[in-house]
């Protein structure tokens, strides 16, 4: 019996070793692809016709959707940021998803809103709508007041209401750069294959300085180490993870904080799913599934130069909640669409994107966390050689550091937003430190998501982020009370 147990443990150690090697090979491949693609994209930006298009009435009208619940501290900033975008035909729809902090009253008084009773066609079923508000001063602003139903429900409601052929979903705690929308919409005009969804880069708002609704100075947050770790993480994720996947038309996630969709495509698939805690990922997978099954040509794009600034959590508790939710959403999505995995009918989505998500993104925290327990135990019980144990640990940390520093290098050769020398050195330092402690903590939170999934504790965990007023914490993003 003991011999079998020992064999299993040794086998597990080998498995972890091979799995780790396999994951790193995949990451290296993606990094190489991203490096080539991003440099090519930068060259393309030089002759992209943004300036020609930004004032053209020929550009398709776009509705910016801002789902919001209890966002009274930041909602005005978000609305103003959306209304002042460099884009010719814009409509802004704010959905108050049953706020309890007086957000609606504040909006009514700030914009002198008047109630109207428009015809509500619930093409996608949502929780009841309580009222619509508009103002003659800003004819392209509409506020919808509805019962709480979650972020997905609020977005679906806005899809029902909006009249534009394209919608851009923005989180209430995010700020878009002025030309973010025109940069996102340009592929629509130029692509021969219909672009049904596209997303841009999400960057960390913490630490930046803003004037009105514009980010004027970009610096690393001084007080929050956790926010700095997340900056490195976001750079790595957006500058090489998604760029690499986009090159293969395999992106399964477009960040919910900033995404752009063809309205007809959203209606074709029945809008956002309200039963998933990571509705953005589930939607994209469903889009791939629908269009591939129907054999309709389509593209889902990730573009690396339109930028949306968003706040990130600054406490371990809130960050843990966020990461658990993201991972839980991924597990839910994979489970729901498991028939796609290794299914040649879905092309590269079935043969690469879904297996990559399952075997690299989804189960990695599970194996990593188990590895953190089993490998040291194996060492203490003398089942593995101490030298191998230490060498393997060093290799794991070194490769993590390499990926982080490469993310920073990509930022340096591309957008160079953190202009201070001290910020560059700090970023590099955080890129190293991130792999000692922070990464392991992240794995633990993501590991917890498996328990939540297995024991049916599937609910949206509220994430409080630091608002504009430092004395107050607020509940960010829309969440369901159900």
């Amino acid at each position: 019996m003991k011999a079998i147990l020992v064999s299993i443990i040794i086998g597990f150690n080998y498995f972890i070793g091979f799995y780790y090697g396999f994951v790193q090979v995949i990451y290296t491949l993606m990094l190489t692809i991203a490096l080539v693609v991003i440099l090519r994209h930068l060259n393309r930006i030089r002759y992209a016709p943004f300036r020609d298009l930004e004032k053209r009435s020929e550009m398709p009208p776009v509705s910016i959707i801002i789902p919001a619940r209890n966002e009274s501290e930041v909602i005005i900033r978000s609305i103003e940021s959306s209304l002042t975008m460099n884009y010719p035909g814009l409509e802004v729809i704010v959905v108050n998803d049953g706020s309890t902090d007086g957000m609606l009253d504040m909006l009514i008084s700030h914009y002198s809103l008047q109630r109207i009773d428009p015809l509500y066609r619930d093409l996608i079923k949502t929780r009841p709508v309580r009222g619509f508000y508009c103002t003659s001063k800003i004819p392209n602003l509409l506020i919808v007041d509805k019962e709480n139903g979650g972020k997905a429900d609020a977005i679906n409601c806005a899809i029902n209401v909006c009249r534009s052929p394209y919608v851009c979903v923005q989180d209430a705690d995010s700020v878009l750069e002025k030309d973010a929308l025109i940069r996102l919409a340009t592929p629509l005009v130029q692509s021969e294959v219909p672009v049904i969804a596209c997303g841009g880069v999400v960057r960390v708002l913490n630490g930046t300085k803003q004037e009105g609704n514009v980010v004027t100075s970009i610096e690393l947050p001084r007080r929050s180490t956790l926010a700095c770790f997340q900056i490195v993480e976001y750079l790595r994720s957006f500058l090489f993870g998604r760029v690499g996947l986009d090159a293969m038309n395999c992106n399964l996630v477009i960040s919910g904080a900033f995404s752009f969709f063809q309205k007809a495509a959203l209606l074709n698939i029945g809008g956002f799913a309200t039963d998933n805690v990571a509705e953005d990922m589930e939607l994209i997978v469903r889009m791939h599934r629908h269009y591939r099954l129907k054999r309709i040509p389509y593209r889902i794009r990730f573009i690396s130069d339109p930028i949306c600034w968003t706040e990130v959590p600054e406490t371990f508790r809130m960050l843990g909640r966020q990461r658990r939710r993201w991972h839980l959403g991924m597990i839910q999505t994979v489970w729901k669409h498991k028939s796609l995995i290794f299914n040649p009918r879905y092309g590269q989505i079935g043969l690469f994107a879904m297996p990559y998500t399952v075997f690299v993104e989804m189960i990695s925290p599970l194996l990593e966390f188990l590895g953190y327990i089993v490998i040291p135990l194996s060492y203490f019980f003398g089942l593995i050689n101490a030298d191998y144990f230490l060498l393997f640990l060093a290799l794991a940390i070194a490769y993590g550091v390499f990926l982080s520093t490469m993310g920073i290098f990509l930022e340096e050769i591309t957008f160079r937003r953190y202009t201070k020398w001290s910020d560059l050195f700090k970023l590099l330092l955080y890129g190293v430190l991130e792999n000692i402690g922070y990464r392991q903590l992240n794995s633990f939170w993501r590991f917890q998501a498996f328990f939540q999934f297995l024991f049916g504790r599937i609910k949206w965990e509220n994430v409080k982020k630091k608002g504009d007023s430092p004395s107050q914490m607020r509940v960010s993003t829309v969440h369901s009370e159900s």
């Binding site: 030089r46 015809l119 709508v129 130029q190 070194a398 520093t405 490469m406």
Partner: protein, 421 residues
């Protein structure tokens, strides 16, 4: 030490080497960029006044004779940036073009075009030639329209449009049918690029479109013409395309007629020409018709809009309602008549449009006014809207004190149902 341990150690050392390389690369890149941009800024500061002076004093030849710049150097880049900035101003266009030629930029990029194979490099060079605007680049750019990469073709097309000469126009229009057929450039990209030609191109575009029957070409050309100054020929051309067998062409022709300046121009036409389109089988033609007849205010346009408000397609109903709202006071009788019908969708559509567009403010004003007829009509309309589940205007009118006690009593019997929920 075993071989596998040695292998692991060497792999770790290799990764550390990669980490150091990426860190050093980040730092070196920043240092290099900082120096480069400092030099560029300095060169621009030095060259800009010298260049301006030479243009102002007419001594371009002396400037080019004294300025010998190796192609691709920083100075070359700085000068190019200044010249491109100057190019954007109409007054200095001729001088900057002369400078581009004399300093060898045009020849350099033309040579680059023939030697390059990467689609990004070709596109970047084509874009530069378009921005420089030298007509001698036209044959090179026209040749690029045959390229297999759609990216290159799109940029070459835009550059030709940016150059904006008659030769460029001819090159672009000759290639247009094949480009649309081959799907190498999207219709939207063509349309936004064609506008770069400027106002003078309206007439040749119209002549070109008048001789074309290909629906794809016609649609793009009609859509482009919308941005050009109106003329009787343009108006007649649009009218003549209303009976085209292709629905998109019919819709685009209606869109061209719906330009806001068409009503003021008041070109003569047969008012019956729009009648057959009321029964057009394609909904977006009817939708566009609703907008056009409101713009032109043709004979019986209110009657026609009333028919369109009862259309089976909601988009058409909404467009017709919006058009009726735009017609102003005269629409109230039409609305009252439509609100009396059994068509629930039409009633709801009207009620919504009345609120969204601010027409309700006008209704409340009428209700509080002295004109009894208007007062009665406004009250009737609000009552019907309330019955259709749109009570807000009525509530607001009561709050504003527009409704006296005798009317309020009468209104109390009207069911106050919620609209949105």
């Amino acid at each position: 030490m075993t071989i596998s341990q040695l292998f692991l150690i060497s792999f770790i050392i290799f990764i550390f080497f990669l980490i150091l390389t990426s860190i050093m690369a980040s730092i070196c890149r920043r240092v290099w960029n900082k120096r480069r941009y400092e030099k560029l800024d300095l060169l621009r500061e030095l060259l800009r006044p010298a260049l301006r002076d030479s243009i102002a004093t007419g001594s371009i030849d002396a400037f080019t004779r004294d300025t010998k710049i190796p192609a691709g150097s920083l100075k070359w880049e700085a000068l190019e940036q200044i010249l491109l900035e100057m190019c954007e101003g109409v007054e200095q266009k001729t001088e900057t073009l002369k400078l581009f030629q004399a300093l060898g930029y045009v020849q350099y990029y033309q040579k680059q075009l023939s030697g390059r194979s990467s689609s990004i490099k070709l596109s970047a060079t084509a874009d530069k030639l378009g921005k420089i605007g030298d007509p001698s680049a036209i044959p090179f750019l026209v040749q690029l329209l045959q390229h297999k990469e759609s990216e290159v073709v799109t940029v070459a097309f835009r550059s030709l449009c940016r150059i904006g000469s008659t030769e460029a126009l001819s090159g672009v229009l000759t290639a247009l049918p094949a480009l649309l057929k081959g799907g190498k450039v999207t219709a939207k990209a063509i349309q936004t690029s064609l506008l770069l030609f400027g106002p003078w191109a309206g007439e040749p575009f119209l002549k070109y479109a008048a001789h074309k029957d290909d629906p794809e070409v016609l649609s793009v050309m009609i859509e482009t013409l919308i941005a050009y100054p109106i003329s009787p020929e343009m108006f007649q051309f649009a009218l003549s395309r209303l009976s085209h067998p292709n629905a998109e062409v019919r819709a685009k022709a209606l869109k061209l007629l719906a330009r806001h300046d068409m009503r003021q121009a008041s070109f003569p036409y047969n008012p019956q020409i729009f009648q057959p389109l009321l029964k057009d089988p394609v909904w977006y033609v009817r939708l566009q018709l609703a907008r056009t007849i409101e713009t032109l205010r043709c004979d019986q346009y209110i009657e026609m809009l009333k028919k369109l408000v009862l259309d089976r397609q909601w988009q058409v109903r909404d467009a017709a309602t919006a058009s009726l709202i735009n017609t102003g006071e005269e629409s109230i009788d039409a609305f009252l008549e439509l609100l009396e019908t059994e068509d629930r969708f039409a009633k709801e559509g009207i009620s919504e449009a009345v609120q969204r567009t601010g027409y309700k403010t006008r209704l409340i004003e009428w209700l509080g006014g002295v004109d009894l007829q208007q007062k009665f009509k406004a009250l009737r309309m609000m009552t019907m809207m309330d019955r259709a589940g749109f009570p807000t205007p009525m509530r607001e009118a009561i709050e504003a004190g527009c409704i006296g006690p005798e009317l309020s009593k009468e209104l109390a019997e009207v069911p106050q149902t919620g609209g949105a929920v």
